[in-house]
Symmetry: C2
Subunit: 310 residues, 2 copies
């Protein structure tokens, strides 16, 4: 299969690159820790090295990037699109990278900025490409719904008629990592996060606690006392904490979504599995989309922008 | 004024020691960063050095300590009292320090452990001594109420008839510090926390946002977007974040306190002032107690234990 194009989801701390054929078939994939923060000042070199590592890839292939690479802290600031702009306009707003060397075709897709009812602003970068992929996967009618994209900054996004109509970000993953690594609570857990136990019972206890009255700040302290009194062992505490924060996010977010709106989950399989369980615990089901919708989205953008022949 | 006794509130990261006369008058006071974590393995030496630094103090004076010094991570684990045990029993449960050198009289006061309706456990160490001081300051009848003790782990404590009847801890201060120091959000603030601006308007914006629907995990992200779009400048962002977490704590906690129960604030003046403003913003008033109730409490314990003559 001949590679026709490279799509990259270039986030703050991680990067996922996909080599794609003209018909959308995935030829190869690579994920690494070359996030925007790590690549400060050497984005071009990092991208060249990525491409050079793929024997199937020609350096002249068009590259479409999405994510924090297009933020002020990234490679080049690409202005956000506003909620009124349909996802189909992404191709038109692809921005060439200013420092593209001769013979290369490097582009960054814009993110979206939405204003809430209270005048508050919320933003995404990278998720718009996954949503565009979902739109192509499901078709314009079946794609309407509320997309849940769990992660460092979880997004709950309402898609209607090919437009983003609502967006709420939850700092769930970042808070979990902060508490895991830096808090007094983290000291009760194994030194190495790899030793955390993926403990169903403890995760469910966390979900139950999150659903009880008291508020997140109070429930977080319960993880500490549960650890202190041996009600939950150290290796299972991280699962309890995960249940607490995911349960809190889901409780807050579901309150903003009418019950007849279908939920669709997009993201890393292990994390999506946790969200599925947490949603099911509240009697809510969600459709799990393949993780490849991001690659499909960048392919759709590249094709609409005329970067792929055929 | 002759010093008769030393009271120490020995916390996880800080220590506050008070030299007190037989009648309860404060002779001298010292606060330092010799918290329980820093003193691991050298508590006795640290205490000797503290006393030696006071010319007014004799090394044979009785010392009553409270706080994390009596926890498993502290100097010596002192068992918790249960909620049913009145504060007046603290003196009876003073625990001598095992490694007390000859000629010294060193004691640790126990903390309290309470069980909530859902079987959950909550704990305090140090605050019981402040509450006992409030009980002495206000008298047994006027002391009934809900005590708010803001800090790293804020406590909301119901006192009734000299007994602790409810206890809820909120991880507010620890979460603020984590976000300030380690999060992506913190990067938008001044490098040095001392450059944070104590900005009334931004603090109030944070309170308003915390009171709006959406949940804390979502509101925390709003601090990031407010910083990104220059709606709140870097130096004022910490005040906004403080308003968010304090507002969230107060919203959650007030829901557990009947409106006719008086609120009493105990703690560091600057922090108490923020809580007073946050409570007033919700139309709730609180009585501010002097910060010295802790010293008064340890004096009352020492006297009841017969450690002070006269």
């Amino acid at each position: 299969m001949t590679a026709a194009f490279i799509g990259i989801d270039w986030g703050t701390t991680h990067r996922r690159a996909t080599l794609i054929a003209a018909d959308g078939t995935l030829v190869a994939e690579r994920a690494d820790g070359e996030g925007a923060l790590a690549c400060k000042g050497r984005f071009a070199a990092s991208l060249e090295a990525l491409i050079a590592g793929w024997p199937e890839a020609d350096a002249s292939l068009p590259v479409v990037m999405a994510g924090m690479v297009g933020a002020a802290i990234g490679w080049q600031a690409v202005p956000y699109l506003d909620g009124g702009t349909p996802l189909s306009a992404l191709a038109r707003h692809l921005t060439p990278v200013a420092e593209t060397p001769p013979g290369r075709r490097w582009f960054i897709a814009p993110g979206y900025r939405l204003h809430g009812d209270g005048g508050e602003v919320d933003v995404m970068r990278g998720e718009e490409t996954q949503l565009f992929g979902a739109l192509h996967l499901l078709g314009p009618n079946a794609a309407d719904g509320c997309y849940v994209l769990p992660g460092t900054h979880s997004k709950w996004v309402r898609l209607h008629g090919g437009r983003i109509t609502e967006l709420r970000t939850y700092m769930t993953g970042e808070l979990f990592a902060l508490l895991r690594r830096h808090s007094l609570l983290g000291r009760l857990m194994p030194e190495d996060a790899a030793d955390d136990r993926d403990d169903d019972a403890a995760f469910t206890q966390g979900l139950d606690r999150a659903a009880a009255p008291g508020g997140l700040l109070h429930h977080l302290f319960s993880a500490r006392t549960a650890g202190l009194f041996g009600r939950i062992e150290g290796p299972a505490l991280a699962a309890y904490l995960s249940g607490l924060v995911i349960g809190d996010e889901i409780g807050s977010a579901l309150a903003t979504v009418p019950r007849d709106v279908p939920l669709l989950l997009v993201g890393a399989p292990a994390l999506c599995a946790r969200y599925e369980r947490a949603l099911a615990h509240r009697g809510v089901s969600a459709e799990l989309l393949p993780e490849t919708v991001g690659a499909r989205g960048s392919h759709a953008i590249a094709r609409a922008a005329g970067l792929i022949d055929g």
